[in-house]
Amino acid sequence: MLIKKSDDIPGSEITDEKLYNNRRKFLRGAMLAGSVGATGWLYRTLNRPGDTKPQSAENDPAGEIAAGEIAEGYRTPEGEPANTFEEIANYNNFYEFSTSKQAVAVRAKNFITRPWTVEVSGLVHKPKTFDIDDLLKLAPLEERVYRFRCVEAWSMVIPWMGFPLRALIDAVEPLGEARYVKFITLYDPKRMPNQTTSVLPWPYIEGLRLDEARHPLTLLATGLYGRDLPPQNGAPVRLVAPWKYGFKGVKSIVQIVFVRDKPGTTWADYAPNEYGFYANVNPQVDHPRWSQKRERRIGEWSMRKTLPFNGYADQVASLYSGMDLNRQF
């Protein structure tokens, strides 16, 4: 380095070497600390494991709702305790809000679900647009503790509140030619911010065969853990078909249509080789990119074996007798 000698700086103004070194040390210490702080901040901002204040039962804004009868036949077996409210409410696939499972709860926090209507139409004798509060009175609410298996190979046990979809079907009286039921999620990019992206074609659509829809296990869920559904879990009303992969469980439903032909559904149309219309949980049929033989139960260290029809085979397998489930997955 070239060091210019300058005569016009008096000796008294030249920084003392010790002082200079101290200052240098101090500056370096500050740089180190500052950069570590910045890196830590960056990591925390870009890589959130969830809300800084995870939504828990205590700070859940939704009030308690009266718990109905608990039907014993619908409990998951002993040794499979339900997941905590914190787990269920902070790990969600709900692409309308975010594609990050940890971010959905935060981004859905202010989602307002009143007023809300569900339009039931199509091949029915009595089409009707239900106000959500009337819909909730259609049948007594029950608690159903179901296994929940995501197509991504993780699972939970969830104590849903709701009533069998069958009650709604009976109320609108489908015509003889109705063979399928189609469910549509709200489309409102102002309230569901990720709908401004084209990650998936909106609105989200799912469907069931009419006999699947009428099955006693099939639930219109309106709550969990004895409370209204948190927005991230599909408030105010969602579908639960516990023997199918989670993506069949369409959330925040605004429209239910009875149709003659098999409806196009979001994931099955998006990647037909990866996601089927039936989407029955089946350890024998792997997702083309990953195995479905095992699953990680949230909160557990090792993987569990995935059960055919998610453990509900004795109740639902007969719906599919004669079908090749390897091809109609």
Partner: protein, 206 residues
């Protein structure tokens, strides 16, 4: 930049690159890794491996563009951090997903392209990490060492493809990595076939 400054710059990189690891351990200890901590660790370490791989590829273009030759002295450490996070990522998979079952790992590797690519990328990085010491550079000779370490380009491409194949629908992040890494590789191609005047000097030792 004097020797002391470079030393300090390396200390800065060393400490900062360890910050995500430290926070990951901290969050683990305090059970703050979300509802699926095992998946969170796997995804985070994989992401960090890709980030450091990308940073290591950015060193050369950056040092030339900015005219800061000393930056090269940070590259080894950045590359080794990429390897460190990739090794943690592999460990997470082998431990949490496969519980160290060799049969299941081999089966998975053979059957699933994204696992095949991930394994391939990792095992390409192993010889690079092993030959990263000064002694190994001398032993191999600069030219051979350089040729060997070009394998990092392939590892980076395989790493991004591995990420791309695993996401369900939202491909924005893997595509962003592909664009950045693609640009850094194109820069090298352009440099090779259309070298700038300053670099066409006969002795190109570096």
């Amino acid at each position: 930049m004097d020797v002391e400054d470079v030393k300090f710059a390396r200390l800065l990189v060393f400490v900062n690159a360890a910050v995500p690891f430290a926070l990951l351990l901290w969050d683990w200890r305090h059970a703050e890794l979300g509802a699926n901590p095992l998946e969170f660790v796997t995804h985070t370490t994989g992401m960090l491996a890709l980030i450091f791989l990308t940073l290591s590829l950015a060193v050369t273009p950056l040092r030339k563009a900015a005219g800061q030759p000393w930056l090269i002295r940070l590259r080894r450490m950045i590359g080794l951090y990429a390897f460190f996070y990739a090794a943690l990522h592999l460990l997470a998979y082998v431990w949490f997903d496969k519980t160290f079952s060799l049969g299941a790992i081999i089966d998975d590797t053979a059957r699933r392209p994204y696992i095949t690519l991930g394994m391939f990328a990792f095992f390409l990085l192993v010889p690079l990490a092993v030959t990263s010491t000064n002694r190994m550079v001398k032993l191999l000779g600069g030219a051979r060492w350089n040729r060997l370490h070009r394998a990092v380009y392939i590892a980076a491409i395989a790493g991004v493809a591995h990420y791309y194949l695993l996401v369900k629908a939202d491909t924005r992040k893997p595509v962003a990595f592909a664009i950045v890494i693609g640009a850094l590789l194109v820069y090298r191609l352009l440099n090779k076939y259309f070298p700038s005047r300053t670099e066409r000097r006969p002795a190109r030792a570096s």
